[in-house]
């Protein structure tokens, strides 16, 4: 075999030799293509797999952990939730609208594949600064793509985040999370079990789009914007996606379907080999039976196509007609293309001729696993220590300036383009600390949040990873939800670079430790490597998608002040440290060298304290202190509130004033409490708790030892905050 061939499908010489050894012969061209996609970084997790084992994945609520299309958690009374997050970074960098749209479609398929009705979408987006025209184009395109697909398909987009930083110049991140609800007895897995069972391909027809999306687009670094790769980006059809959801859920009700897998990255190749390998069976399919959109497609093209809105069904022998009838009602194809065998092989025919034949497990379980060299940052490697900026004089001016930062400003421009209410279950939509979806027919609600701050992980991957988990959990806690499980998207640079692998390892160690201390299992995730453009790697960006449970959704609280005269209190402690803060970045254009002290045990106590307070009805509103620090947190509670003011009065702190106002020390929550309840709240736990001010009708003032350090008009502040993002575009 000439070198050109295996390099063309994205494999190395060593990998090629391993294939020959596994097969005991040279692969033919189609077989080589199958290995090329299945052993790509995107599908095989070959650089990351050894590290992902650090995550705790077990817990009494975990019904399905990593390795399936989505994780599934038991929420009691026969109900369960399915969750999954996925990246669509590289397609969105080339074609923002379709890249983002198909990201939404793909993650939804992962959810209803499990038998769950999708009920919520969230998007975590990262772009370079909006001062560049290309970043504006990418930002607008991605938001439009999400809006196009999500609104039409009828699943509410209830939350997410948007963050701008120069490290994403040229390599934006588009991570999408979906959550579904199901009855436990309706759970289906992606397994081709039962020898002789029928294999159906259902949904849209197969075309030539997306070929090599997983191997050549998603698993390589990104040198000049490769516009010639545009055909590798798939095109989404939300109408077809909606029909596929309805038809699939209806077909599952027949009880005839034993396994389902979506056709996403690596299309039919991946779905067929994974379902067989999970069930320990074999699969025989005939590509000539696959419904096609265009004529003259070769077996290679059919096997590698990433055309959207398709699924693979494994149906009990003889019951295929029942399923086909349902798909006919929804005007979708459902073609029988093969059957389950007992020989462990993935056998592909084109009519009578066998065109490829490889052990299914060779494509999946036998994929290479790399322990790539790692290098951990040493203290002395850090850029020369940046002296902290001198204390500013006009804090009010800084507050106004920060509220106008695209990272802190209201994201209403984004989320008002998303239908976040369809299905009439959205108790709390975007703009809250976490979104809440109620489950009809029960008192339950699920709280969902996505989080991750890449400046923290850039400064310290371990602490940053731990903080991402903690913050996502804290957000869920702030609305009254108890965190029960998480999924993630790990976005990093080029794994062939030792420092990047070091960041990756440390971030996972930090996340895993936080999960253990907080008692939250990881139900799955997604790894996106090679986020590198022109030799520049993105900041390490682990994103956490957290799900929490409210047994009684009517107890939820918001993050806006409810009544003038109530007290404003702080759970947790203000610490000296500005590293990683939006303040340092936006005002002084530096990251800083260190992160604030972070104590996971303290974090856990703070969260428990807040949950108890909400559960007992003592906390009227709550908001975690994160990006922008204490002053911004209080300002947001004013903007989101019915009572539009706050008077804060504290003793002069032992820390710098700017650290107090704008530092981002974790494990802090601002809560609103009625005067009469303060002592009861104080006794909820053994964490620092202090009254720092009072809710007012208007005005935002801040005094230290009776010295007023700012006093601002809240109408003016709110106008800046609400309009800044729109004016940046």
């Amino acid at each position: 075999m000439s070198e050109a061939l295996y390099v063309e499908v994205g494999l190395t010489e060593g990998e090629y030799e391993k294939i020959v050894e596994l097969l005991g012969r040279e692969p033919n061209h189609l077989e080589l293509e199958l290995f090329g996609v299945m052993w790509s970084e995107h599908c095989s997790y070959k650089s990351s797999r050894v590290h992902l084992g650090l995550f705790p994945t077990e817990g009494e609520r975990v019904l399905v952990g990593p390795g399936e299309n989505a994780g599934v958690l038991d929420i009691g009374d026969g109900w369960a939730v399915a969750l999954r997050a996925e990246s669509h970074n590289h397609p969105s960098a080339i074609e923002p609208f379709q890249g983002a749209a198909t990201g939404v479609g793909g993650i939804l398929r992962d959810i209803f594949t499990m038998g769950a009705r999708p009920v919520a979408l969230l998007d975590s987006l990262r772009f370079g600064p909006l001062t560049y025209a290309r970043n504006k184009y990418l930002f607008r395109g991605v938001v439009a793509g999400i809006s196009h697909y999500g609104n039409s398909v009828g699943v509410p987009t209830v939350g997410g985040e948007v963050f701008f930083d120069r490290s994403y110049q040229g390599n934006p991140l588009v991570n999408v999370m979906a959550v579904g609800v199901l009855r436990k007895e309706n759970l289906v897995k992606g397994q081709a079990s039962g020898v002789g069972n029928e294999i159906l391909i259902v949904g849209a027809k197969t075309g030539r789009d997306g070929i090599h999306g997983a191997s050549l687009l998603a698993s390589r670094e990104f040198n000049e914007a490769p516009l010639e790769m545009r055909p590798a980006v798939q095109v989404g059809d939300p109408f077809m996606g909606k029909l596929l959801i309805e038809a699939t859920l209806e077909a599952l009700e027949t009880g005839a379907v034993v396994g389902v897998n979506d056709l996403g990255a690596a299309g039919l190749t991946s779905a067929a080999s994974e379902t067989a390998s999970r069930a320990g069976t074999g699969v025989e399919i005939d590509v000539s039976l696959v419904p096609r959109r265009e004529e003259g497609m070769t077996p290679d093209e059919v096997m590698l196509s990433e055309s959207q809105e398709r699924m693979l069904f494994i149906v009990e022998q003889g019951k295929g007609d029942k399923v086909r009838e349902i798909f006919r009602k929804w005007q979708l194809d459902a073609a029988r293309i093969g059957f389950v065998t007992d020989d462990g092989m993935l056998r592909i025919r084109d009519g009578k001729e066998v065109v490829a034949q490889v052990p299914a497990a060779a494509l999946t379980e036998s994929a290479p696993v790399y322990e790539r060299p790692m290098e951990f940052p040493k203290k002395e490697d850090k850029e020369v220590s940046v002296p902290l900026p001198k204390l500013p004089d006009g804090y009010g001016e800084i507050l106004r300036s920060l509220l106008g930062s695209p990272n802190l400003a209201s994201k209403a421009w984004v989320y008002n383009q998303y239908d976040y209410m369809v299905r009439a279950d959205t108790v709390m939509g975007p703009g809250g600390d976490a979104a809440i979806i109620r489950i009809k027919g029960t008192d339950k609600g699920i709280a969902i949040s996505t989080d991750g701050n890449s400046r923290y992980t850039k400064i310290d991957p371990f602490l940053g990873g731990a903080m991402a988990v903690a913050e996502a959990a804290r957000n869920v806690v702030c609305v009254g939800g108890r965190p029960i499980g998480l999924t993630n998207c790990l976005n990093f640079g080029n794994p062939e670079n030792k420092e990047i692998m070091g960041q990756f390892r440390k971030a996972i160690e930090g996340m895993a430790l936080a999960c253990r201390v907080l008692g939250i299992p990881v139900t799955g995730g997604n790894v996106s490597l090679y986020n590198e453009t022109q030799g520049e790697n993105i900041n390490p960006t682990p994103l956490v998608g957290m799900v929490g449970l409210l047994e009684d959704v009517s107890k939820r609280v918001g993050n806006g002040f409810t009544k003038s005269g109530n007290l404003i209190c702080l759970i947790g402690e203000n610490l000296e440290e500005l590293g990683g803060s939006e303040y340092l970045s936006y005002v002084y254009d530096i990251y800083g060298n260190d992160l604030p002290v972070f104590d996971l045990e303290r974090e856990k106590e703070v969260q428990e304290f807040c949950l108890r307070g909400i559960d007992e009805g003592l906390i009227k509103s709550a908001h975690d202190v994160s990006d922008g620090g204490l002053a911004i947190a209080i300002a947001e509670m004013i903007f989101n509130g019915r009572a539009k003011g706050a008077a804060i009065s504290m003793t002069e702190p032992l820390i710098r004033r700017d650290s107090l106002l704008f530092g981002e020390a974790p494990s802090r929550i601002v809560v609103e409490v009625e005067k009469a309840d303060v002592e009861r709240v104080r006794e909820l736990g053994m964490v620092p708790f202090m009254v720092i001010g009072e809710v007012k009708e208007s005005g935002f003032s801040f005094a230290l030892d009776d010295e007023e350090i700012f006093n601002e008009d809240t109408i003016e502040l709110e106008k800046i905050w609400r309009e800044a993002l729109k004016w940046s575009l």
Binding site: S147, N151, S152, V153, G154, D237, P238, F239, M240, K242, L243, W330, Q331, A412, Y415, N416, Q417, Y418, D419, Y420, M421, V422, R423, A424, D425, T426, V427, R438, K440, V553, S554
Partner: protein, 224 residues
């Protein structure tokens, strides 16, 4: 009514159940609607809204049954995409264009009740202000002067006090919802079915559904 691509069908179903009434889904291939009191065309993206919003659905097999139902005086309510379909099918005058700023809008708005002499608004008072959600990309209602003579304005966008203003999409004369002259066919862009419970932020949508219930009770009382 469920067209392929409808996505607020479930929400409408839930809302009617909350009102304690019977409801069933009717598939777009149905040809006989005689057993029903009210036909509701829900929001969503029927047929993906390809070609033009509501255009393909207006040729759906069930449409001739809906027209017949409406001509017989049956109550027909179109919400959001349902309103767009009713305009495309000619059951209501005018058309819905892309929002003035070309963006999809999803948020709460206020409407002022302008006309209470219909089966859909008899339990409301003129000047009442309702807080309802909108979620549409094409809600910019337009009607020619000629068309304006063939419709009744039932709801207008307003501010929270009922004053003019608060129009989110540029519709002519701040129109949010209209009926035909006889009042038995209503189309509106806001989603009353999403405003049925305090838990979800507003109960102001109930007035429209309770008007329908009141009208039907009275009608059956007379006919008996």
């Amino acid at each position: 009514m469920v067209f392929p691509g409808s996505n607020c069908d479930l929400d409408v179903h839930h809302a009617i159940r909350l009102m304690g009434q019977d409801v069933s889904y009717v598939w777009h291939t149905e040809t006989d609607l005689s057993q029903y009191d009210v036909v509701i065309l829900p929001g969503g993206f029927s047929y993906g809204d390809y070609l033009r919003v509501g255009a393909i659905a207006s040729y759906s097999p069930v449409m001739s049954a809906i027209k017949e139902f409406a001509y017989q005086g049956g109550l027909v309510l179109g919400i959001c995409n349902g309103f767009q379909i009713l305009c495309e099918a000619g059951l209501l005058p005018g058309a819905l264009r892309a929002n003035e700023d070309l963006s999809f809008h999803c948020h709460d708005i206020y409407v002022r009740v302008e006309d209470t002499d219909t089966p859909f608004s008899n339990q409301l008072r003129t000047g009442d202000v309702l807080k309802l959600p909108i979620a549409h990309g094409e809600g910019n209602y337009f009607a020619s002067e000629e068309d304006m003579k063939n419709l009744r304005v039932i709801f207008r966008y307003s501010d929270s006090q009922g004053n003019r203003g608060g129009n989110p999409n540029g519709s002519v004369d701040d129109i949010a919802g209209i009926s035909n002259l006889s009042g038995n066919v209503l189309g509106l862009m806001p989603h009353p079915e999403r405003a049925m419970e305090e838990l979800l932020g507003s109960r102001d949508g109930r007035g429209i559904f309770s008007s329908i219930v009141a009208y039907l009770k009275e009608r059956s009382g007379i006919s008996v």
